[in-house]
């Protein structure tokens, strides 16, 4: 299994890597003791404080450490409802930047967290239904990334509003009218072409949003966003690749993705209409006005549709009706989704095992 290639570290950054010359196989098997021996290549200069300071000069680090550590507090090795994994109140640093209203920040974290949670659930519903194993794995990975973002944001929401609700209470014990996700995320799954159309729209919009949010004055939002940018960039590339493949594929694949785009397009306009909370936080430097995302969104979608030889759907199609997800005004699809998502937690409230 091992080979000479393994002994030759990847020349990182090389523009012309490395068809490696095969040579005598290296049959050495790493042992446990091997793994524990410090490498001579891994020498560190002493720190004056006797402490490893990973981010010298980062003024946000102390409060971030407290807040994030508390959000993720647990020695319990498992994360599941009822295992006591969470304890978001323990030492959460709820201090906010000046000029940022705690209620607004909490509501904003709910919006972005609910987008991620609900979209994650729709992607999870593809498990055992995707057309190929690789796509199954991809969709589950994307769902997991979004679930991770949701956990952080919902925990932050519960800490910021002073209610003491943890991530489980936020995810499992709110009714549909309390969810603040955009309607795009909650719509029932269609076929694979439609899912790729939705994921392209969702990821393109969210990537543009998180990229701007990474400079938020709220250190927790900024950190969640900076990490999310890297993840959602992969999600967008994945969906874009499929839209191109389907659109510029067979007549049937083209028909599927064309109809998929038409099905999700009525929910696009809502993504760019600022809620008053978003507008206030944008003015305070802590949030993003979604109206500012439209230009980048249109540009990216244009690139994808051009490569896919598709045209932008007409926006005159009636959407899912009046009302907006950001106001808690949802379609029946969200109620059905939450019935499933929340069934165990609601049937066994406070259960531990």
């Amino acid at each position: 299994m091992s080979s000479e290639a393994s002994a030759t570290p990847d020349p990182r950054g090389s523009a012309t890597p490395d068809p490696r010359e095969p040579s005598a196989p290296d049959v050495r098997v790493p042992s446990a003791s091997d793994v524990r021996v410090p490498s001579s290549a891994d020498v560190r200069a002493p720190s004056s404080a006797g402490v490893h300071e990973p981010f010298p000069g980062d003024p946000r680090e102390p409060s971030l450490a407290d807040a994030y550590e508390a959000i993720n507090d647990a020695d319990d090795p498992r994360w599941a409802y009822g295992t006591g994994f969470t304890d978001p109140l323990a030492g959460v640093d709820t201090r906010l930047p000046g000029g940022v209203d705690a209620g607004d920040l909490s509501a904003y974290c709910l919006m972005l967290g609910d987008d991620a949670l609900v979209m994650s659930h729709r992607l999870q519903e593809w498990c055992t239904h995707a057309p190929e194993l690789e796509e199954e794995v991809a969709l589950a990975n994307i769902a997991l990334d979004l679930l991770g973002q949701a956990r952080l944001l919902l925990s932050r929401a519960g800490a910021a509003d002073g209610s003491g609700r943890d991530e489980d209470a936020m995810a499992f014990l709110r009714g549909p009218e309390e969810f603040r996700n955009v309607r795009l995320a909650e719509a029932e799954n269609g076929d694979f072409g439609q899912e790729m159309a939705r994921l392209l729209v969702f990821a393109t919009w969210r990537l543009a949003l998180l990229d701007r949010l990474a400079s938020s004055r709220d250190p927790v939002l900024a950190a969640v966003a900076a990490k999310g940018v890297k993840e959602v960039a992969y999600h967008r590339d994945y969906a874009a690749g499929w839209v191109v493949r389907l659109g510029d594929g067979t007549p049937y694949s083209r028909e599927r993705v064309t109809e998929g785009l038409a099905a999700v397009w009525p929910d696009v306009a809502e993504l760019f209409v600022p809620h008053e909370v978003e507008a206030r936080l944008a003015r305070a430097g802590a949030g993003v006005d979604p109206a500012t995302l439209r230009e980048e969104f249109d540009d990216v979608i244009g690139q994808v549709l051009t490569a896919a030889t598709l045209t932008r759907p007409s926006t005159t199609v009636a959407g899912s009706g009046p009302g907006r997800g950001r106001d808690g005004d949802h379609t029946p699809a969200l109620s059905r989704l939450l019935d499933e998502l929340q069934s165990v937690a609601r049937a066994h409230q406070g259960a531990t095992w």
Binding site: A5, R12, A45, P46, H52, E134, G148, L207, A223
Partner: protein, 178 residues
């Protein structure tokens, strides 16, 4: 290239023993790597009264191994005699595969997992869209050939993707650049 950790300093006064214990803990999903190899161990602070604070950062937001990693760190340090162990998690700055050590890259390759190349540098402006096949070339960790292709940008864990080698026809995993 200097990683932030390389700048961060070595074990100083009174720290080395806890650092040596913490750095040797293995990653649960990439057990050929120590947490130090993976670059997620961000700090070890020993106060001298038997208590130690370890700081780690997740690879991905949804990484399900984080709780296990915290538990493993805690257990290892307690076993080494530290009565009071606190494991903190930080999100910023976000982990990058550039923090995987050279030793870690060698161990990945030894185990048949292609190590990551350099993470893409972020230019100013919007995150660029990547359409079409990945231009990155990844050497086959089994036969060494450079004649490989990406199968899927997602794999068995959040941090890996799937490739295949056209020369030896074997599939393999690759730690994707982040």
């Amino acid at each position: 290239m200097v990683s932030p950790r390389a700048r961060s300093g070595a074990p100083g006064r009174g720290v080395s023993s806890a650092w040596e214990v913490a750095r040797a803990v293995l990653d649960p999903e990439l057990p050929m790597l120590t947490l130090d190899d993976l670059g997620i161990l961000r700090g070890v602070e020993e106060t001298g009264d038997g208590s130690v604070v370890v700081t780690v950062t997740p690879t991905y937001s949804g990484c399900p191994a984080m709780a296990a990693i915290r538990a493993d760190l805690s257990a290892a340090l307690r076993a080494a005699g530290y009565a009071d162990v606190e494991v903190r998690t930080v999100l910023a700055p976000a982990w990058t595969t550039d923090w995987i050590t050279e030793e870690g890259r060698r161990r990945l390759a030894d185990a048949g997992v292609a190590p990551p190349g350099q993470a893409p540098a972020r230019r100013r402006g919007p995150v660029p869209l990547t359409l079409g096949p990945v231009r990155r070339r990844v050497g086959c960790p089994r036969c060494g050939s450079g004649d490989t292709e990406e199968v899927s940008r997602f794999g068995s864990t959040a941090c890996k993707d799937l490739w295949r080698c056209r020369a030896c026809r074997e599939p393999f995993e690759h730690v994707k650049e982040l």
